[in-house]
Symmetry: C2
Subunit: 328 residues, 2 copies
């Protein structure tokens, strides 16, 4: 008996979920929901329905877990509590400041319906959060560092694209190697924004645009670029397509801390990801937590949860005996 999964929203993340389900024999994709006209949406899996998102309620008894692939700004704050009325749900809500509010809304809806909702699943928030928690629980006296990259920031790429004269752009966030090394050496450095990451931009100009003006506008953009050392490369549309069409990402979570009667010993815990495809990796985390949501709900649990609340054994299809024999 496989776990029946529905996908709400079919962009990069939705397609990643579809691929990840294919890699897991105990999961089955039963329907994809879209706000677009379903007839215009072509998915990869044969024999699976594409339906209007407005019809999702009709699938109440045919779907075990609905994975929500909308954006954190406007989609998920509405969708996750709404769909938790009918389904076990998973989202990748990543607006850190609004987590308490989102958690409360999903918790109320999921408790009322007797369903499980798991929010903020992916790698950050998600696997990075878990690693921050484990490392903090182990090393009480220490300092946390999170570095992102090398990877594409969608938000920063979009910000460049909004500049007049820019036809297309890709922005990479890059951790500063010397900062990483100082942290790894247990030096507990205090690092400014500029000392942690640099930003590299590949920009395609509109015909006749003023390169110097665009470069200046990028480098001085508040919040996005002004606090960073930023490099701008102007390239052709062909080059952008050929060399910068992927969506790689990754990063590092490091905690350095002391133990001993007089705190005389230092320890460094490091977790890192190097991802060819940010949405596909995020999707792989989401489907593992979809498995957990289904099982927890089968056990009678309900309400909102995060990665912190879920025992690791729920994520794998392997039995308790098998994981103790092969992974412990």
């Amino acid at each position: 008996m496989s776990i029946k999964i529905g996908i709400m929203g079919y962009g990069n993340l939705g397609r990643g979920i579809e691929c990840a389900i294919r890699q897991n024999d105990d999961l089955e994709l039963v329907a994809v929901f879209t706000r677009r006209n379903p007839e215009t949406v072509k998915i990869l899996t044969e024999g699976v329905s594409v339906c209007a998102s407005a019809d999702v309620e009709n699938w109440k008894d045919k779907i075990d877990v609905l994975i929500l692939c909308g954006g954190s700004a406007t989609d998920l704050p509405k969708q996750t509590p709404e769909y938790a009325k009918y389904f076990n749900v998973i989202d990748s809500f990543d607006t850190h400041a609004r987590v308490p509010e989102h958690f409360a809304n999903v918790d109320a809806a999921a408790k009322a319906s007797g369903k499980v909702g798991i929010i903020s699943v992916g790698w950050d928030p998600g696997m990075f959060s878990l690693n921050r928690l484990y490392a903090n629980a182990i090393l009480s006296d220490g300092a946390d560092y999170t570095f992102w990259g090398k990877g594409v920031s969608q938000g920063h790429s979009d910000a460049i694209r909004r500049i007049e004269g820019v036809k297309d752009a890709k922005q990479y966030t890059i951790p500063v190697e010397s900062a990483l090394e100082a942290v790894r050496a247990g030096k507990n450095p205090e690092l400014t924004t500029r000392q942690k990451h640099t930003r590299e931009c590949f920009v395609v100009l509109e015909d006749g645009a003023d390169a110097a003006k665009v470069e200046q506008e990028i480098k001085t953009m508040p919040n996005y670029f002004a606090d960073y050392d930023t490099t701008v490369h102007f390239i052709s549309e062909e080059e952008l397509k050929a060399n910068h069409s992927g969506i790689p990402h990754g990063g590092f979570v490091i905690r350095s801390g002391k133990t001993g009667w007089n705190l005389e010993n230092n320890h460094v815990i490091e977790y890192s990801l190097k991802l060819d495809s940010n949405p596909e990796f995020t999707s792989s985390v989401l489907v593992a937590y979809a498995r957990a949501a289904y099982r927890l709900n089968k056990e009678g649990q309900s309400g909102c949860k995060t990665v912190f609340d879920i025992a690791p054994a729920y994520l794998t299809s392997m039995s308790g005996e098998d994981i103790r024999a092969h992974l412990l």
Copy 2:
């Protein structure tokens, strides 16, 4: 109200537990138990009793969690099920092949007494196991690699010390950098024992011992050294004390795996530890899980568990609100 901890066994690990408790305000050391004459055992914490291990039952109502610091070969297989009759217990049982049997014995005892027993806690087994599980659950199609070191192997150091003519010795296990790099590059290499680790030995000879004979005996020792590239350095007793008296260790857990409709994208997940003191770090993990054992038992749970069965939130003294606000 702090959680009352007892320590069974006062060697390197027991002392590490004592130090770790001092770093956590919600934990309180109430007694240390020893098989030696308690009057001969001097501990670091003022005002805490040192008692004979035979008397531990008398502490049944005064200790919330008993942390077992014995060895995996003969102590823990007996101690953990025995003490689970009276206490919530934690051990660092690390004989991988005997985990199923140990789990069953502790589970039966702990279920009968209504207590929680958490076995195989530390970094390997422990944090490395967790990282193998998370990475396997996320990347279904992939390969696992565990490297140890650079660090002191107690077992290998002991093996050298048993050779005739050897006065003292320290052995370091060292991961092969080129193997690590191939794994990190997503090449999924097949690696022999020799290709993964080298062994470096620092040996103090007895007066008049034959260095060439000792070196030959080390390098050809089956299981311990014969399958590795081994380097032997002969040094003075003073040098050994000055430069090799620490117990550092560490290592790497890496999973490399593919995603995408045609498995076209590669991802690398890496977790690494660099530890100045192996026993103190292990102790820090053990006390975090002692906190979890206490809480799970308060919620009415009983039986044997491993790190796989415990939701991360149980490990920290921070509230759910705080971890969502600060670590998610």
